[in-house]
């Protein structure tokens, strides 16, 4: 009964979505205030019904209702509660329902918090948002109904893919989806602006919080996925340039560009046409990501059931929304008025450089990801484009971004002084050069690029705080004075500094963990030892253990440093009974920011067990960086100036007089 209620709620939500995509838009055209005002209650009600459907499916999972096919295929009565819950989105149908839920949640948030939006813009935005939810609700109801019953109901379910039974993966999809789907707001605002033929600084001010929220969650989602791949896949790698990873990286790159160009638009009314295009493209890339991972074009842990009809359906949605919005753009973009001019060396100029390179990086990832698919479709020849391609393209393109990044915030709007900015970065330059020299001295004979990478990362980190230092007059004024100034800085200044520093932190982690990691693959019998990076590793033996829905064989390792035991590491192999699938669980010991990593293979006939032992220096920085970036995003979001619904000052000071942020 509850499952049918969920199904029915989805149908009702679809009806509301159709109404919401037509009535307010029509109202905005004929200036019927009543019709326009319908958008908000419709959006909230739509969220209510989709929420009801999601609650119904969650209930089916939590109570292990095996009369629902989706639960049978992806759950098991013995599964721990958290994975019963995360199982809701650990499959195609449920994950799409989550997608739609987040989509309508954003719509409802605009309806509730967008009180100060101009009525017509709000009506248009909510109508466009409803068009997207109409498409996806149709998709769910026609091809991917999560509430399908199975008669007779089996006694037991088939369990969730063991790979997905992991806390990291329980929260990875919601984070990622908030990111992906959050960009739909930028899309809806962009389409609404094109319909209205008007886009201005106020528009950018409304779009930025939504984009920032989406970007923040996407950052966390990607980092979480990367960390999961690191500890779960047993390779110790953190990024594989796998198409599904690239699918999430592309919207992140263009979303980052969008955040920055929206700043220019908000402050200076420049780059309007470009910002609108970026908003369209970012969501298009989100849809492309959904298509790539959900259509079965790629086989991966993300492509749950592979059903060609679903792939075609997503492709149609993708074509309609991307094609439609780009056509509208071609038609209406010339109507948008041009903004202010600026010198090449200026804050705007730096942000343009950021945009050019981020877009180029996105394009390189795009080509590398889609070329194999296109080639196979065209010629049937099968190729793989792997890490070497991306290292050779993405790396060099991102390098200038890192170099220019610290300069940007130090340049004035409209017209900056490169010399003064360079002066502000003297400390950063110094730190970078000293660090590069020191690291190069200590690691002679190692990869020669690595010390430069470390120096560049430090340049980015120290440089990120150059603006804060300058504005607080650190070391130039008494400390108490600087502290008072620091407290007075807008939180978006801190946000920008943290986010920029985060990128440097990630770079250092990537460089250190790639260049100086050591690995030893050995076959050991119980009692035997091996040395790795100063650790004396002893294999104590194997031990059988029983988990809630799996049996595991644990390889017990003891780590000694100079004779004293420093850690016990227990990589294991699990056999999940329901799916007859075995899975390696890595064992990790953390030392500061570095990690010792072990994975085990099956025991061999001669009594030895294969072990992959790795030491990865500073590897935690890789994920600490994105956490800093997200924190920076949160700081920016907390800035009063950007707070949705915060009363704005009646008269804003002229842009040129504004403090540089």
């Amino acid at each position: 009964m509850i499952a049918e209620t969920g199904h029915y709620a989805l149908v009702l939500a679809l009806a509301l979505a159709i109404l919401q995509s037509i009535l307010p838009l029509w109202g905005a055209r004929v200036r019927d205030v009543a019709l326009m005002r319908l958008a908000s209650p419709l959006a909230v009600a739509q969220f209510g019904f989709v929420g009801l459907a999601f609650a119904a499916l969650t209930h089916a999972y939590l109570t292990s209702d095996f009369s629902v096919l989706n639960v049978v295929e992806n759950s098991h009565s013995l599964k721990p509660l958290i994975y019963k819950f995360s199982g809701v989105w650990g499959n195609h149908e449920g994950s799409l329902l989550l997608w739609v839920l987040i989509l309508v949640l954003f719509g409802a948030l605009v309806a509730v918090f967008g009180r100060n939006l101009p009525a017509r813009l709000k009506a248009d935005v909510l109508a466009v948002q409803a068009m997207i939810s109409t498409a996806f609700l149709l998709f769910v109801l026609i091809t991917s109904n999560p509430f399908e019953r199975v008669v007779p109901a089996p006694m037991e379910g088939q369990d969730l893919n063991p790979l997905l039974q992991d806390p990291g993966l329980a929260i990875h999809p919601p984070l990622l989806y908030i990111g992906y789907v959050g960009f739909s707001m930028a899309f809806s605002f962009a389409v609404a602006a094109l319909i209205e033929g008007k886009v201005d600084a106020a528009w950018a001010r409304w779009v930025r919080p939504w984009t920032l929220t989406a970007w923040l969650f996407l950052t966390l989602g990607i980092a979480m996925g990367s960390y999961w791949a690191y500890y779960e896949l047993g390779w110790g790698g953190f990024w594989f340039w796998d198409p599904v990873e690239n699918a999430s990286l592309m919207p992140w790159l263009s979303g980052t560009a969008l955040l920055h160009s929206a700043v220019v638009m908000e402050k200076r009314e420049a780059l309007k046409v470009w910002t609108v295009l970026l908003a369209l493209l970012t969501f298009a890339l989100s849809l492309l990501g959904t298509f790539l991972v959900r259509s079965g074009v790629l086989t991966s842990v993300h492509a749950f059931a592979v059903d060609p009809a679903r792939g075609v359906a997503i492709l149609i949605i993708l074509t309609v929304f991307v094609g439609g919005s780009l056509a509208l753009y071609a038609l209406r973009a010339p109507v948008l008025k041009q903004g202010g001019i600026f010198a090449p060396v200026s804050r705007e100029g730096a942000l343009v450089v950021n945009n050019i390179f981020l877009t180029a990086a996105t394009a390189a990832v795009f080509v590398g990801t889609l070329y194999p698919l296109a080639l196979e479709a065209a010629t049937g020849e099968k190729i793989s484009v792997g890490p070497p391609f991306f290292n050779a393209t993405f790396g060099p393109i991102m390098l200038p971004v890192l170099l220019v990044m610290p300069f940007g915030p130090l340049l004035a709007w409209k017209r900056g002084d490169a010399y003064r900015a360079a002066q502000g970065l003297m400390i950063a330059f110094g730190v970078a050069i000293v660090a590069t020299a020191l690291v190069a001295g200590f690691t002679l004979g190692g990869p020669w690029l690595a010390p430069i990478g470390i120096g560049l990362g430090l340049f980015a980190i120290v440089g990120a705080f150059a603006e804060v230092m300058e504005r607080t007059k650190l070391f130039k004024a008494p400390f108490g004075d600087s502290f008072a100034r620091a407290k007075g800085l807008p939180s978006s200044t801190w946000g920008g500094a943290l986010a920029h520093a985060g990128l440097g932190v990630t770079l250092i982690g990537v460089v250190a963990a790639t260049a100086w990691s050591s690995e030893n693959v050995v076959a050991l019998k119980p009692g035997e030892s091996v040395d790795l990076s100063g650790f004396h590793v002893t294999f104590e033996g194997l031990e059988q253990r029983q988990g809630p829905n799996y049996a595991s064989v644990v390889a017990k390792l003891t780590l000694r440093e100079g004779g004293t035991v420093v850690a016990a590491v227990e990589p294991s192999r699990r056999i999940y009974q329901a799916r007859k699938m075995d899975l390696a669980e890595s064992g990790i010991a953390t030392f500061g920011l570095s990690q010792f990593y072990a994975a085990t293979a099956e025991a061999r006939d001669d009594g030895a067990t294969g072990l992959r032992l790795q030491y990865k220096p500073l590897v935690l920085l890789i994920w600490l960086g994105p956490a800093l970036m997200a924190l920076g995003g949160a700081f920016s979001l907390a800035d009063r100036r950007l707070r949705v619904g915060a009363p704005r000052k009646a008269a804003r000071p002229a842009p040129a007089l504004q403090p540089a942020e």
């Binding site: 088939q158 893919n161 790979l163 791949a229 896949l233 594989f240 796998d242 790629l298 086989t299 991966s300 842990v301 492509a303 749950f304 059931a305 592979v306 059903d307 041009q338 001019i341 600026f342 010198a343 090449p344 060396v345 343009v352 450089v353 050019i356 390179f357 180029a360 394009a363 390189a364 590398g368 070329y371 196979e376 020849e381 099968k382 190729i383 793989s384 484009v385 792997g386 070497p388 391609f389 050779a392 393209t393 393109i397 017209r415 693959v521 050995v522 076959a523 192999r573 799916r579 007859k580 699938m581 075995d582 899975l583 390696a584 293979a601 099956e602 061999r604 294969g610 072990l611 992959r612």
Partner: protein, 180 residues
């Protein structure tokens, strides 16, 4: 790029327009330059880093494999696996041709004789394929779709694949094709 003095203070509308044009040109030039550089990088990377997927019989037929990096896919031949410390020797077959492979390192979980396998590396002068990575079916590591297709095409896909839609409803037989 140099700063343009003519726009420093209160420019006349006409000067503004010409400044706008000049700056637009500068902007387009920069964009063009970056684009060209990016395209050059991509093309260059393509010629260096593309890896083709081959079966043992394709390697035998083409005879151009020596030293070229490629992915070799097929089945691990029955009775061919031999360990020597952490180095393993085995033969990949597509039942038409065989290819000897050597690999040093930890084999993936479901590396089995008679099962599908994909290795990446190159053929050495002694005719042995030296692999630096090995992926096996059911493995948690990413199994490229092309590989699965190729194995299915040849009817060598044991136990699996969901190519036949929902027919494989038996829970125990459900393949772990979903791998990263």
């Amino acid at each position: 790029m140099t700063l343009d003095a003519s726009t420093s203070s209160f420019p006349s509308p006409r000067r503004r327009a010409s400044a706008r044009k000049r700056r637009r040109f500068a902007l387009l030039a920069v964009i063009g330059l970056v684009l060209a550089a990016a395209v050059a990088l991509v093309l260059n990377a393509f010629t260096d880093t593309l890896v083709f997927f081959r079966t043992p019989s394709e390697i035998a037929q083409r005879g151009d494999a020596l030293g070229t990096r490629m992915r070799l896919g097929g089945l691990v031949k029955q009775g061919s696996v031999r360990h020597e410390g952490t180095t393993v020797f085995f033969t990949v077959t597509d039942n038409k041709a065989d290819q000897a492979v050597t690999y040093t390192g930890m084999l993936p979980d479901l590396f089995r004789e008679g099962q599908g396998v994909v290795t990446e590396g190159s053929v050495q002068t002694d005719g042995v394929f030296k692999a630096d990575s090995v992926l096996a079916k059911h493995d948690e590591n990413y199994m490229p779709k092309d590989v699965a297709d190729r194995l299915k095409e040849q009817g060598e896909w044991r136990g699996g694949g969901k190519s036949d839609g929902k027919s494989d409803a038996a829970p125990a037989a459900k393949p772990a094709e979903t791998s990263k």
